[in-house]
């Protein structure tokens, strides 16, 4: 029942985007500029050191690639839908979602797809593979399976964090800035989480686990992911999924549709 529904939501959102094809080129340019800036940042850092807390320059390219790809997923589906949710709560137009015979969380999470921002996903992937250099031979089937699990866990983590931030609109109404906070914190993920001091590492791994969401798939790619970390990221994703569901339900009880 849900799979065809998901497909229809995605199809309608994609059809809306396909009307604006020039946006593809805008997204390509934006993606190239972002990658160029990321590479320049790495060049500046490595002009002063040979490695950053044990991460070589090539490995940091892998981190940047994963960061770009996960950011691409976020900007393609998650963030546009969450921005729409915040706006609907403010305007009182969430009524139109709540009165539909479909799970409201599912519906609000897939209503907006900025298809062209998905350009970041292959661009980030290509950069990560390029960063691997001579080591892609290490990518066995098992390693690819582990990578797929970590990427899925990453996307779940980012989605849950953004949903919880967006849900604060039910309490504080005017909270577009909370999504700006996410964007700022997500920038921290362009460096491996191990670079940060203990307090910030805990913050970026568990409280707002965006650092974990990028570093873990990157570690899987460069072959330095311990099995315990893999188990931890899966458990964390499951916990965040349950927590975000609870927060979503509690949030809906606050909704009054005051402006509708």
């Amino acid at each position: 029942m849900r799979a065809p529904l998901l497909w229809h939501f995605a199809r309608v959102a994609a059809m809306n985007e396909l009307q604006h094809r020039v946006n593809l080129w805008v997204s390509v340019v934006q993606s190239m500029i972002a990658i160029g800036a990321g590479l320049a940042v790495i060049a500046v850092v490595y002009a002063h050191v040979d490695n950053l807390s044990g991460w070589s320059r090539a490995e940091l390219y892998v981190v940047l690639g994963v960061f770009t790809a996960v950011g691409g997923v976020t900007r393609t589906v998650i963030k546009p839908s969450m921005l729409q949710l915040v706006e609907d709560v403010r305007q009182g137009t969430l009524d139109y979602v709540l009165t539909k015979p479909v799970d409201a969380q599912l519906h609000v999470s897939l209503r907006r797809i900025h298809l062209w921002r998905a350009v970041d996903i292959p661009v980030g992937g290509a950069l990560a593979v390029w960063g691997l250099g001579d080591t892609p031979g290490n990518l066995t089937l098992t390693a690819i399976g582990v990578l797929a699990i970590t990427v899925l866990a990453s996307v779940v983590l980012v989605y849950c964090v953004l949903l919880c931030l967006a849900a604060s609109a039910f309490w504080f109404v005017h909270v577009q800035a909370t999504l700006d906070i996410f964007e700022s914190i997500f920038q921290a993920a362009r460096y491996p989480v191990g670079v940060y001091p203990g307090w910030l590492r805990i913050f970026l791994s568990a409280i707002v686990p965006v650092g974990f969401a990028v570093t873990v798939p990157a570690e899987a790619l460069v072959g330095r992911l311990p099995p315990t970390t893999l188990a931890a990221v899966c458990a964390l994703a499951a916990c965040w999924l349950a927590l975000s569901r609870l927060i979503w339900r509690a949030s809906l009880r606050r909704y009054t549709g005051a402006s509708a």
Binding site: N23, A37, A40, V41, W171, F172, H174, V175, T178
Partner: protein
């Protein structure tokens, strides 16, 4: 002139009133501003420690001071963005701004001045916390503080005009996100936003001196944090005035043409 001042004061008082109604939103925005420099601060502190306590001759505590003052400059130079401009053009919002007696940039300049002054209230405790955690070395003289205030005001006006110029491209394209991205990258690399310009290769610093970005960001920070001589400070203030003059002239010339293009898309 008195009427203009009155408009500025009234408009500047609008954001503090809105902030009082949506305090959490304002607080969140202030926190969002602070995350970026904390990341830079942590990374460059780690690099400095790896190199024995300095980068390009700048000790760890001075690097900490640089990025803490960074947060102050970032807070006081927030301005109306091309994304907002894009929204105004796409939704026909300029229609009622154009029938007002003043140039629309006055409303943005005054509104964001109020916005930035309000943001300073949330910056103060955050800066105090950063000082406790990172222990910066910062002992500016009264003279440095006075020049910093002037430089920060100059940086705000120059950055506002630059972003407005970029925003006006929307009259022709109705979309400037890619250009804005390019602006942000230029600011990141050439303004001292990513790192102090002393960390950059000398060629990059030389190019930055001939572009406006550095005068909107790195210059005010360096005035307060680094021991620059009087000539360098005066030259910096003069560069700001020059850039403001050039950009304001271009803005006025382009504005006349831009308004003729305006068709109130979507309204």
């Amino acid at each position: 002139m008195v009427a203009l001042l009155d408009v500025y004061l009234t408009n500047a008082s609008m954001y503090p009133r809105s902030y009082l109604q949506y305090r959490v939103g304002g607080l969140m925005r202030a926190i969002a501003f602070l995350v970026e420099p904390v990341v830079y601060l942590v990374i460059w502190t780690a690099i400095a420690e790896q190199r024995g306590g300095e980068v390009a001759g700048m000790p760890t505590k001075v690097i900490a001071a640089y990025f803490i003052v960074w947060t102050l400059v970032r807070t006081t130079t927030a301005a109306f963005t091309p994304q907002g401009f894009e929204w105004r053009v796409q939704h026909g919002y300029f229609s009622y701004q154009l029938v007002r007696p003043l140039h629309p940039i006055h409303y943005d300049l005054s509104f964001y001045a109020g916005y930035n002054i309000t943001a300073l209230l949330t910056w103060l405790p955050a800066a105090a916390l950063l000082c406790v955690v990172f222990r910066p070395e910062l002992h500016p003289s009264g003279w440095q503080v006075a020049v910093f205030v002037l430089a920060a005001c100059g940086a705000y006006v120059l950055r506002s005009i630059l972003l407005w110029l970029l925003g006006m491209v929307n009259f022709w394209t109705t979309r400037t996100s890619a250009l804005f991205e390019l602006f942000m990258v230029s600011e990141l690399l050439l303004a001292g936003r990513l790192v102090p310009m002393d960390f950059m290769p000398t060629q990059v610093s030389a190019v930055a001196n001939w572009l406006p970005f550095y005068w909107t960001f790195g210059f005010p920070i360096e005035v307060l944090v680094l021991d620059r001589d009087g000539t360098t400070m005066w030259r910096g203030l003069a560069a700001q005035v020059l850039w403001i003059g050039v950009c304001a002239t271009v803005l006025l010339l382009v504005w006349r043409r831009a308004v003729r293009r305006y068709t109130a898309v979507g309204n």
